[in-house]
């Protein structure tokens, strides 16, 4: 009971803003300040949510099936971005020669929007999970690299000098001082990366999909069903927030006492 009271006290403003937002949304749709054909009331979206738990119509799959497809896709792209992006950023930040070698290619590729890669992704990876994961990987990869790079660059030079004085090798300094000091920034990068991965979902599912939250939004568009579009959007937003929260908790555990 006390925990609930504490929670309410801490989050009262957030709860009020959410409630006001939902009430305003309901009012502007029910009283047709915004025509019904442009926006549906939240109550209809909630109704559709419960219907879509078991009903695959009209967009071809249940909400759970769409969710499963999308989470598999997003996490596969994000996982690959983490496996490749973090070590790459750390190496670029630590070894100047490696940075000189990789940076020009990275800088050219960085500003290209993931969606522009779709035609090439089809040619290279076909129309299965590979091409879609590649599109997501592209968007998730950049924040991983940049934050890992910046994180290791900010390693305290005093610590590095002390380690050198005590005879540590460059490799030892990299693993025992550089990487641990970069961890908070790496996690910030991972959170941004997960966010990007989840946000690129709709673009990735433009590519040969038959299920997924992005596909669900597309079908809503073709069937002129704004309720399906809004449900897809809210699910993407909610799951994205939950994933960010989970990653934040992991970060707290790992970096406990490390952040300045």
């Amino acid at each position: 009971m006390k925990a609930l009271q504490n929670f309410l006290r801490k989050n009262i403003l957030s709860i009020i803003s959410l409630v006001v937002f939902l009430i305003a949304w309901q009012i502007i749709t029910v009283y047709e300040i915004v025509p019904r054909r442009m926006l549906v009331p939240p109550t209809e979206v909630v109704e559709l949510f419960f219907d879509k738990l078991n009903n695959p119509d009209p967009d071809g799959a249940t909400l759970l099936a769409h969710f499963k497809t999308s989470i598999t896709l997003a996490l596969s792209g994000f996982g690959l971005a983490m496996i490749i992006g973090v070590p790459l950023g750390l190496l670029m930040g630590w070894y100047q020669r490696f940075d000189n070698l990789v940076r020009p290619i990275f800088e050219v590729m960085r500003p290209i929007p993931p969606i522009a890669w779709i035609p090439l992704a089809i040619l290279w990876f076909g129309i299965g999970l590979g091409a879609k994961s590649f599109i997501i990987w592209l968007s998730a990869f950049v924040p991983c690299v940049i934050n890992s790079y910046t994180g290791i660059k900010l390693t305290d030079p005093v610590l590095v000098r002390v380690a050198r004085i005590f005879g540590a090798t460059d490799r030892e300094i990299f693993f025992k001082i550089g990487i641990p000091s970069a961890v908070p920034m790496v996690f910030t990068g991972l959170r941004l990366s997960l966010n990007s991965a989840w946000m690129t979902l709709v673009a990735a599912e433009l590519l040969a999909a038959t299920e997924g939250l992005g596909y669900m939004i597309q079908m809503g568009r073709r069937l002129l069903r704004p309720d399906i579009i809004v449900l897809g959007m809210l699910t993407i937003g909610l799951v994205g927030a939950i994933l960010a929260g989970v990653l934040g908790k992991i970060e707290q555990r790992i970096t406990m006492g490390r952040r300045m």
Partner: protein
């Protein structure tokens, strides 16, 4: 206390701002008219042959003859076109049967004429080495369809779902005694589907014009179409309900010019082919030459005013147009895309109407045309 009051005022201002901003976007321009200018009709079209009557009309300076000014609006496909219509951005336009049906169901639009017959140009393609090409006319009722049921079973079909193309694919499967469960349907946009198919993905490709001409250029072979599978896919001429109800005379004026375009296309194919080629290349940015533009005239029958009226003529309570839309609506019910009651609602609304064609016929009769 002061802080609380300031916060409250800020909240009220914020809500008022949101409501005002939203409210102001709702009603859009209705047939803008100034004393010096002719009334404006906003026409929406796609990179498709059914845009030509309007586009060519503007190029030839016809709108003035009909007492209107036309704002030409271009959309890549039916979905964004309908979204813009829902926002009140255009008044009249041409599109495929699927967006026309969906727009009628959700927004009460009218289908006032048929732009062309698209049954043959909603088609299905395979590569030259496909096993489907070994057999033709397995079902004697459908002699132009290639492949046996066994050839088709288990194949991956790249198709734009919830479209007339998808309708043609399902009709083809039905003609061979199959259903969608016997194949793997993969949803893709048309241009992406061609690229994927070219790179070896999928076994069968569904397209519509003008993308199917690109497929032909690449050496793919047509194995079926809506027409070959026995379904009618007419192109629809659509008007926004609010515009049509308020300005029927403007609808008729624009329709007069649109029909003049169709009649010119029927009469002078050589001239119209040049215009269509230019429209595809210069306006739409498609790499299609005049030979392909000429093919459009071969494959897509056009209807003049009297032929249009016949298509809408009701025999036993149903016209040919009604039947085409009813069959399509049933397809969507079977697919679970719309509910049976939604089908009944849209079909009973008589959204496909010859009211404006009849008004035009009368007007032309008065003018002695």
């Amino acid at each position: 206390m002061l802080k609380r009051r300031t916060g409250l005022i800020a909240l009220v201002i914020l809500i008022a701002f949101v409501l005002t901003a939203c409210g102001s976007s709702a009603p859009k321009q209705e047939a803008a008219k100034t004393p010096d200018k002719l009334p404006l009709v906003r026409a929406s079209h796609q990179p498709c042959m059914h845009a030509l009557p309007t586009w060519m009309g503007i190029e030839k300076g016809w709108p003035k003859d009909h007492g209107i000014e036309i704002k030409y609006m271009f959309f890549p496909s039916g979905a964004p076109q309908i979204e813009a219509m829902a926002a009140g951005e255009w008044d009249v336009g041409a599109m495929g049967t699927v967006p026309a049906l969906m727009a009628a169901l959700r927004y009460g639009t009218y289908t006032i004429a048929i732009s062309n017959d698209e049954s043959e140009t909603n088609d299905v393609w395979v590569r030259k080495d496909s096993p489907l090409l070994k057999t033709k006319g397995f079902n004697p009722k459908y002699p132009e369809i290639y492949g046996t049921p066994d050839d088709w079973k288990g194949k991956t079909i790249l198709t734009t779902t919830v479209s007339t193309g998808h309708y043609a694919v399902v009709a083809t499967l039905k003609a061979l005694g199959l259903t969608e469960k016997d194949v793997k349907i993969v949803n893709m946009e048309q241009s992406q589907a061609i690229a994927a198919f070219e790179s070896g993905q999928g076994d069968i490709l569904q397209l519509w014009a003008p993308f199917d001409y690109i497929a032909e250029q690449k050496g793919f072979v047509k194995v079926s179409s809506g027409k070959r599978a026995g379904v009618d896919i007419p192109g629809a001429v659509v008007v926004r309900k609010e515009f049509a109800d308020k300005n029927p005379e403007l609808v008729v004026k624009w329709l007069d010019m649109y029909m003049r375009g169709i009649e010119h296309m029927k009469k002078d194919k050589a001239d119209s082919t040049k215009f269509l080629g230019r429209y595809f290349r210069d306006y739409c940015g498609l790499k299609l030459d005049d030979t392909i533009a000429a093919k459009e005239f071969e494959l897509r029958p056009l209807y003049d005013l009297d032929e249009q009226l016949k298509l809408f003529e009701k025999a036993n309570g149903t016209s040919k147009v009604d039947k085409a839309f009813a069959d399509l609506a049933q397809f969507f019910v079977d697919q679970g895309r719309i509910k049976p009651e939604e089908k009944d609602k849209v079909l009973s609304s008589n959204f496909a109407t010859d009211k404006f064609l009849k008004m035009l016929k009368e007007q032309r009769a008065k003018q002695g045309k």
